[in-house]
Amino acid sequence: MRYLMMQTAGGAEPDAKLYADMAAFVEELTASGVLLATGGLDPVGFKMTSNGDEITVTDGPFTEAKEAIAGFALIEVRSREEALELGRRFRKIVGDGESLIHEVFGP
């Protein structure tokens, strides 16, 4: 099963140690075949709203900086517990903040 993990911004400013730990974590998950895709997100996005036939485009930023989604990882795991454990390890590396984790249903 696949899970999408989304990280909000915030927490401590990334330092050299965080970068190194993160790189090792990503490398390990790639090697074990768990990490399918990952990426960071530009904090300034744009929003599209539809209302009847009308579609409005609004440029960001929109939310409090610490609530914005800053990155994502798509993982393939055997169980919810495995996703949880990986999330736990990820949170330990990045420090304070939040992750939203959803199961992804098949294509």
């Binding site: 090697a31 074990s32 294509p107």
Partner: protein, 652 residues
């Protein structure tokens, strides 16, 4: 997280390969390493509830496991083993690295183990699955897996295989692909749990790609699996019926996995070297994945790739796939020509995809009646109800007038019904196989006796005379009951005391013979001239010419059988502008076989075709009305007389 057992199980799976690999470096025994790793998990179950889940569960497990390994070595070491142990302990300070995991894979996939043991051990120590989880994947009892793993460890210990610095990568790839295919073949809902095996295989493959990045075949295998897996949602319909590739909804293909497959393929190319079997299969998968619609498929390229693959892996299944590709690339007749040999191959007898492909090709050639018969034959050997129904629906949709008379399947059922159970069981064994191969919807009256004889040759050429005679009795009895004695005309009982020299391959079968009896019987040497091993009457002139021509020309069997009298240049000892050339043996015999004929097929069947078997004009002798000798019949005659297939003659 409060659920400690779940956390331990997850850590055990995620860290298994590294922990066992690290331990293996210390203790040099897979079985022992795996047991110590288990001990560490038990320790975690005991300690984590009170102490909390450690920050880095993997490191915690590794530390505990190493400590136990050191304890074990201290306890068990003897004076003579002291030195190497200390050296080993000294070097085991570092973290287990990629090399250790790779060595563990070489060990668990070692060729001394039978394939199913390699699969079970690899899933246990590398993927970290429990025996119960492995058992569910392979539809066997947990105890079976426990024993299989125990036996594997014992075999490795006895063979002295512990810490393979450079094992056979091909064996590892084979195991990973076996696991993948086991999961891939499980398509129905009830089997869903088994499809997890595909993901395990993908993880193993991705891991291997990191461990052995310079090996093109590793990346080829990963690409192949990623792309095959990308179709998993599209390849079965709502009723569980398989959907062939060209009918799949390509929108349901998982583009993420396809892209990963492409990326793996690029890495395979970068690694270089001549393409191996996995790279070739991946290249074929890439071709399919690149086509946005079935019509855009680059069939000529796929046909070329299959041809290359067949050179590396000459197997009937590869040939069948190649025929499909050639059928699209160069037309149905070209595809059909490639299948001649397979139709006589006993290994393919119960394989429903052969008649499916034959049926498709024949239908596209406009030979709907034959095509339908093949599709119905395919239906009778299909693996599940959904597939069978699909084939029958396609057969029924063809615009062919319905054949008359009793059909084989219902006739066999009606015949067996009133018999005593023991007799019905014994006869049923024979007749059900006939039905499976000939097709349960073929009219009994139109089934030629020759076909029955061929099926006998295919299925039972090597059985003991008693078994053979039991099959003959079953068909005779059925033929008499159905009022179609011609069915049994081509099969004769064999003398029961038949010695190994008896014609149709009465080779002793080790599985049937008691070991002390089989030990005294020498297998017959392969290089013996096949014709000289004939017993009984000398083979007919036609067979002698055919065999001699095949031997001397080494031409394709289909091409030789397709020869017409008018194609021959007797003076030049050649046919078709020198495409087929023979020597003095054939030259001596040919005039007698031609016997004044001026045109028509060179090799003729013994009898004229029955009314229900329309034959193309090019395959009929204008003088005698007999049809061209079929590949199957020629193969059967050769097997009966020499015990060898025709193809072997070409290479003697």
């Amino acid at each position: 997280m409060t659920d400690v057992p779940a956390a331990v199980a997850v850590a055990g799976k995620q860290e298994s390969a590294r922990i066992v690999a690290g331990l293996l470096r210390m203790v040099r025994d897979v079985g022992l390493a795996e047991e110590i790793a288990q001990d560490a998990l038990v320790a975690a179950l005991e300690q984590w509830p009170a102490a909390g889940i450690p920050e880095n569960p993997g490191a915690w497990l590794m530390t505990v496991a190493k400590r136990r390994a050191v304890d074990h070595i201290r306890r068990s070491r003897t004076h003579e083993r002291l030195a190497p142990d200390l050296a080993r302990l000294a070097e085991s300070d570092g973290e287990p690295g990629d090399d250790d995991v790779l060595r563990l894979m070489f060990t668990s996939c070692h060729p001394v183990l039978p394939p199913e043991a390699r699969v079970a051990l690899t899933l246990r120590v590398i993927a970290g699955l429990s025996p119960a989880e492995i058992a569910r994947g392979f539809l066997v009892g947990e105890q079976v897996i426990v024993q299989r793993i125990a036996a594997a460890k014992r075999t490795l210990a006895e063979a002295g295989v512990a810490y393979e610095p450079a094992g056979q990568l091909s064996s590892v790839l084979e195991v990973v692909y076996l696991i993948f295919n086991e999961g891939y073949s499980a398509s129905s809902g009830a089997d869903l749990i088994r499809t997890d095996l595909c993901l395990e295989a993908l993880r193993l493959g991705r891991l291997l790609a990191v461990l052995a990045p310079d090996e093109a075949e590793v990346h080829g295998l990963v690409a192949l699996m990623e792309i095959q897996q990308s179709r998993s949602a599209a390849r079965t319909g709502s009723g569980g019926e398989p959907i062939p590739l060209h009918e799949q909804n390509r929108g349901r293909w998982d583009q993420l996995l396809i892209r990963r497959g492409f990326a793996a393929m690029l890495r395979a190319r970068e690694a270089g070297g001549p393409p191996g079997p996995y790279v070739l299969q991946a290249a074929i998968a890439v071709c399919h994945a690149q086509a946005r619609t079935a019509e855009e498929t680059d069939w000529p390229r796929i046909a070329t790739l299959y041809e290359a693959l067949e050179r590396l892996l000459p197997s009937p299944v590869v040939r069948l796939n190649r025929a499909v590709a050639v059928g699209f690339a160069a037309g149905p007749q070209a595809g059909l020509d490639l299948l001649d040999e397979l139709r006589a191959d006993p290994k393919m007898a119960g394989y429903h995809l052969l008649p499916t492909v034959l049926g498709d090709l024949l239908v596209r050639l406009g030979r709907a009646a034959e095509g339908r018969r093949e599709l119905e034959r395919a239906a009778s050997s299909a693996r599940n109800a959904a597939e069978r129904e699909l084939l029958l629906r396609r057969a029924a949709a063809l615009d062919v007038p319905r054949e008359r008379g009793m059909l084989l399947g219902p006739a066999v059922a009606a015949f067996l019904g009133p018999l005593r159970p023991a007799t019905a069981r014994a006869y049923g064994q024979t007749l059900h196989r006939l039905t499976r191969i000939a097709g349960d919807r073929v009219p009994v009256a139109e089934l030629p006796g020759e076909r029955i004889a061929e099926i006998f040759a295919m299925s039972w050429a090597k059985v003991a005379p008693r078994s053979w005679n039991r099959h003959v009795a079953a068909v005779r009895s059925f033929a008499a009951w159905a009022g179609t004695p011609h069915l049994a005309a081509g099969i004769e009982p064999r003398p029961v005391e038949a010695a190994p020299h008896f014609a149709a391959g009465a080779e002793p079968r080790p599985v049937e013979a008691a070991p002390h009896l089989a030990a005294g019987i020498e297998p017959r040497p392969v290089e013996v001239e096949p014709v000289s091993r004939t017993s009984g009457p000398e083979p007919a002139l036609r067979e002698r010419v055919l065999w001699s021509l095949l031997r001397e020309s080494a031409a394709k069997i289909g091409a030789v059988l397709a020869l017409n009298v008018e194609d021959l240049d007797l003076a030049d000892r050649s046919a078709r502008n020198g495409a087929i050339v023979w020597r003095s043996g054939t030259a001596r015999l040919l005039p007698e076989l031609i016997a004044g004929r001026t045109r028509g097929p060179l090799f003729l069947a013994d009898r004229r075709p029955g009314p229900g078997r329309p034959v193309a004009e090019v395959d009929l002798c204008p003088e005698s009305g007999r049809r061209r000798l079929s590949y199957e019949r020629a193969e059967y005659l050769c097997k009966r007389a020499t015990g060898r297939s025709l193809d072997r003659l070409r290479h003697t």
